[in-house]
């Protein structure tokens, strides 16, 4: 088993941010499943959203999540060239870039959004990417658009 930091022992401040991980059914979601089966730990403040392909995620979905106060979004799709729908992950890559441009223009910053590619067998990679994303978002701090008293974030 890969040694990872237990979630409970992680710095408490990590729990201050919330990250959505849009996970493709054919790779990242399976990798997350495998990570779970192998009892690998990753930050608990990540919510996995199961999508049929990262190509299903549009710019408006990403912006809507930020508008509702999410602190960071990770899009996890198949390795380039390995998309079940041939080019869904490549489309997602371009849409993520377009959304990053909008985030820059409005002053929220592009670093809260990231796309990664991995295969279904890469549970350790999945865990590592999630941890990196949470660390990045944690360094950026909470989304300033988060509403005080927002039930979504009241834990």
């Amino acid at each position: 088993m890969i040694e990872t930091e237990p979630a409970m022992a992680q710095d408490a401040k990590i729990n201050q941010v919330e990250v959505i991980a849009f996970c493709c059914n054919f790779c990242a979601y399976a990798a997350a499943d495998l990570a779970g089966a192998r009892r690998m730990q990753y930050p608990a403040n990540v919510r996995i959203v199961h999508v049929p392909c990262t190509g299903k995620v549009e710019v408006k979905h990403l912006l809507a999540a930020f508008e509702r106060g999410i602190d960071g979004i990770l899009l996890a799709g198949c390795l380039e060239g390995g998309c079940h729908f041939v080019e869904g992950n490549l489309r997602a890559k371009r849409r993520v870039e377009a959304a990053k441009q909008v985030l820059d223009e409005i002053g929220l910053g592009r670093d809260r959004l990231r796309m990664v590619n991995l295969s279904a067998s890469e549970a350790p990679t999945f865990v590592a990417r999630i941890q990196e994303m949470v660390e990045t978002v944690n360094a950026l701090g909470p989304n300033p658009l988060r509403l005080p008293g927002d039930k979504e974030h009241a834990r």
Partner: protein, 222 residues
């Protein structure tokens, strides 16, 4: 179709700085097809604008309505209610659409969300190219269906300039030389003799140089 591109969000934010309740009006025709001002784009920019204004500490209320065509008064009627409820209108139509809405709602400030670019076609997915200048006296029949007025950077009417290099325009090497294309096309259709006629200087009175144009078709008037 008319091709347009969206203005940067900081520019739109500045334009809307005075208003707290704005109608974002999309257009379902040309600008939907060129992915700049349809329902989806209105949604994206609305979301971005709400976030930008909240970050500035001055939230904005946005109502989104996309109508079939902004350049047609019959469809603009659908904006009457939402316009009444808003302080101002941000139109995602082309220049014609924005002006049609401004005429229809004389009491409301109307702003443009897009930069209207040209009359063109979709060359490939998400790539548009200008094809027509709307000069008012079409020469396409003479030149094999390729317009030198629009596609030659110098608008030459009697053959290529000395700067063209094989297939390329000297102004932009990525752009094909319109006259090279015209020659090939006329040769292919057996009309090369069209090129032996001397074309007189173009009469630009039919173009926009003489001010905004108007067309009246008496037989269709009521």
């Amino acid at each position: 179709m008319i091709v347009a591109s969206r203005k940067p969000i900081p520019e739109l934010k500045e334009v809307l700085a005075k208003h707290d309740k704005v109608l974002f009006a999309g257009c379902g025709t040309c600008v939907t097809v060129c992915l700049s001002g349809g329902e989806r784009e209105v949604g994206i920019i609305s979301s971005a604008m709400r976030m930008a204004r909240r970050l500035d500490g001055r939230p904005i209320e946005i109502e989104q309505v996309t109508i079939e065509r902004q350049c047609d008064n019959e469809f603009i009627q659908d904006l009457a209610g939402p316009a009444e409820r808003s302080e101002a209108i941000l139109s995602f139509g082309c220049g014609a659409g924005v002006q049609a809405i401004a005429e229809r709602f004389p009491e409301k400030p109307v702003y443009a969300a897009l930069n209207t670019q040209f009359l063109g076609i979709l060359e490939e997915q998400a790539v548009w190219a200008e094809k027509c200048l709307g000069c008012g006296s079409c020469v396409l029949s003479q030149f094999g269906g390729i317009c030198p007025v629009t596609r030659c950077a110098k608008r030459l009417l009697n053959g290529p300039c000395g700067g063209s290099s094989e297939e390329s325009c000297e102004v932009d090497p990525e752009r094909p030389c319109a006259w090279q294309m015209i020659y090939r096309r006329l040769k292919a259709i057996g009309q090369l003799d069209n090129l032996s006629a001397i074309v007189p200087p173009k009469d630009w009175r039919t173009g926009w140089h003489a001010g905004a144009r108007r067309i009246v078709r008496e037989e269709h008037r009521i």
